[in-house]
């Protein structure tokens, strides 16, 4: 562990991890098939937008990456996904195979994968700082977390994470006192405090107004660019996906129907993904005509 974890004031992140899906199927307990034979490779440091109608399987896809949704068959690899195994051992951290990951090993993977939720998922009655420190729980001994006796290093890291999303002034406010946009940035800071190699975002702006949505998306984009963290973000809005993603993955009924550069996706591709013509509801800022 010590090789991949950094301590002290000069807190650094680890390099981004790659993600590989190989013939992944997800069948929910009720028999509904959430993902069908998904195969794709996300390179370390990529920023990927996943689009699709509601119910297409976007949440299912990202939630398999940290094991919140177990896969039924196939394999997901998180870590070194370059062909022919690790090129030079020094480069990357651990590599995980999701199909057989349970218990402590699964928690270790989760500690390397941050997640941002649509509804922020903050503990509302405690401070912003305590919420960000949740990202450090994996590295905190149980007795410390029970007493709330956080390490000074972890508090420093949490503060830095809050500074990065420019909300450090609110560190000691209660999460419930923040606006929606501020809460989502606290949630992003929480993932940053994990020093993650991957950040998953499940419709992070669906509960926000348009200007705030752009702030949050830019935060994610900068984190990806500055820190080299791999970012996979589910988006309902096509203009956001095209604007902030480098690559776009289109899902329909649990299948990948598009995978290519986000900039190349034109209206017909999107209509193909959605299986219908686009409407004003599909974009955040303007009618579909603006897409062209």
């Amino acid at each position: 562990m010590s090789g991949e974890q950094f301590e002290g004031a000069g807190l650094r992140t680890r390099t981004g991890a790659g993600i590989r899906f190989e013939h992944v199927n997800v069948t929910y307990p009720n028999g509904y098939q959430g993902l069908r034979d998904v195969s794709l490779t996300i390179e370390p440091g990529e920023m990927v937008a996943v689009v699709g109608l509601s119910g297409a399987g976007k949440s299912t896809l990202v939630r398999t990456i940290n094991g919140l949704v177990p896969i039924t068959s196939g394999e997901i690899t998180v870590g070194d996904v370059s062909d022919g195994g690790p090129a030079d051992g020094a480069a990357a951290g651990a590599t995980y195979r999701l199909s057989a990951l349970r218990g402590a090993a699964q928690r270790r993977l989760r500690s390397e994968v941050g997640m941002v939720f649509q509804s922020f998922n903050l503990a509302r009655r405690t401070t912003v700082l305590n919420n960000v420190l949740v990202g450090r729980l994996h590295h905190t001994p149980t007795w410390r977390s029970l007493l709330g006796a956080w390490r000074a290093d972890d508090v420093e890291l949490a503060m830095q994470a809050l500074e990065r999303v420019e909300i450090v002034q609110k560190a000691y406010s209660n999460a419930s006192e923040l606006s929606g946009g501020q809460q989502q940035r606290v949630a992003i800071a929480r993932t940053l405090a994990q020093q993650p190699r991957v950040i998953l975002a499940d419709e992070p702006v669906a509960s926000l107004d348009p200007p705030t949505s752009h702030v949050v998306m830019r935060d994610l984009q900068r984190i990806n660019a500055d820190l080299g963290i791999t970012v996979v973000v589910n988006l309902h809005f096509l203009d956001l996906a095209r604007r902030y993603g480098q690559r776009m993955i289109g899902l329909r009924a649990g299948e990948v129907v598009y995978d290519g550069p986000a900039a190349d996706a034109d209206e017909s591709t999107l209509e193909e993904i959605y299986g219908r013509s686009l409407t004003a509801e599909d974009v955040l800022d303007a009618p579909p005509a603006v897409l062209e």
Binding site: R108, S119, N121, L122, L137, H138, S145
Partner: protein, 276 residues
């Protein structure tokens, strides 16, 4: 054909008016319910053996008692202080220990914080049993097992508190928004860590408020569990009563009244501030 039916013109109906609904027949059900209630009450009347004559007779023989009861002897106050203090001490200890122990148990007893089904079922069942045994019964048993005195009182209050607190707090946990917990689990925390970091803060205000409520209940309870020997004012009540010292008895009861009312005032003031 006139448009508006005049009183008395019963045959006249508005054109286009459909059939009138027939009056719903609710009365059979009501009669049955009423009959059952009357039957139960009659049965209970017979079972408790209502006999007003005997009561009246005893009552008229109790002139002396009544006079004493209405004339509390304040000179006895000094002797009540020690039991009064013991009552408060028992309540404070019982509340402190009971509420402390009930916190982890509440987390084990809520579906939201305990993913282990069998353990959840076990804890809930045990707590249901603990809750359905009255405090004075605990006290009677402990007095026989560990002897008379405050220890029996504290132990019975402790169990009494566990029952109430675990129910209230685990229900509060069931209703808490679980987003923070999901996020903590997704970041690699254990369930214990996630519950502590994300669920505990959400129920903390209710926990404090219920603790104060339980303290109030405990003061009330600890005044009476002494009747079976578990320390405090109750033991004093039992003593003065067996010696027919009713003017002392009325003083003790007066003290209980004042104590309970004071605490009720305090508790409702504090709880009102907590629940913002």
């Amino acid at each position: 054909m006139s448009a508006v039916a005049a009183p008395g013109a019963s045959a006249a109906r508005l054109p286009g008016a459909g059939a009138r609904p027939s009056r719903p027949r609710r009365w059979p059900a009501r009669v049955v319910v009423l009959a059952v209630l009357v039957a139960i009450t009659a049965w209970s009347w017979v079972a408790v053996d209502v006999d007003l004559a005997v009561i009246a007779h005893n009552f008229s023989n109790a002139q002396n008692t009544l006079v004493q009861l209405f004339q509390p002897d304040y000179s006895f106050f000094g002797e009540t202080l020690q039991p009064l203090l013991e009552t408060i001490q028992m309540a404070v200890i019982g509340t402190a220990v009971g509420c402390a122990v009930s916190l982890p148990l509440s987390f084990l007893a809520s579906r939201a914080t305990n993913p282990n089904g069998p353990l959840l079922g076990f804890v809930r069942t045990v707590m249901n049993v603990v809750r359905s045994i009255p405090d004075l019964l605990y006290a009677s048993i402990f007095v026989t097992v560990v002897g008379t005195g405050a220890l029996s009182g504290v132990l019975s209050l402790f169990l009494f508190n566990l029952g109430i607190m675990v129910k209230l707090i685990s229900e509060a946990l069931d209703g808490v928004d679980r987003g923070g917990q999901e996020a903590a689990l997704a970041s690699g925390a254990t369930w214990l860590q996630a519950d502590r970091a994300a669920m505990l803060p959400e129920v903390a205000p209710q926990y404090v408020s219920q603790t104060i409520y339980v303290l109030e209940l405990n003061i009330r309870a600890s005044t009476v569990i002494g009747l079976v020997g578990a320390g405090g004012l109750g033991m004093l009540i039992d003593r003065v009563r067996t010696f027919y010292q009713y003017h002392y008895l009325s003083l003790v009861i007066l003290e209980i009244l004042v104590l309970v009312l004071l605490l009720e005032l305090l508790s409702s003031a504090v709880r009102k501030r907590l629940v913002r």
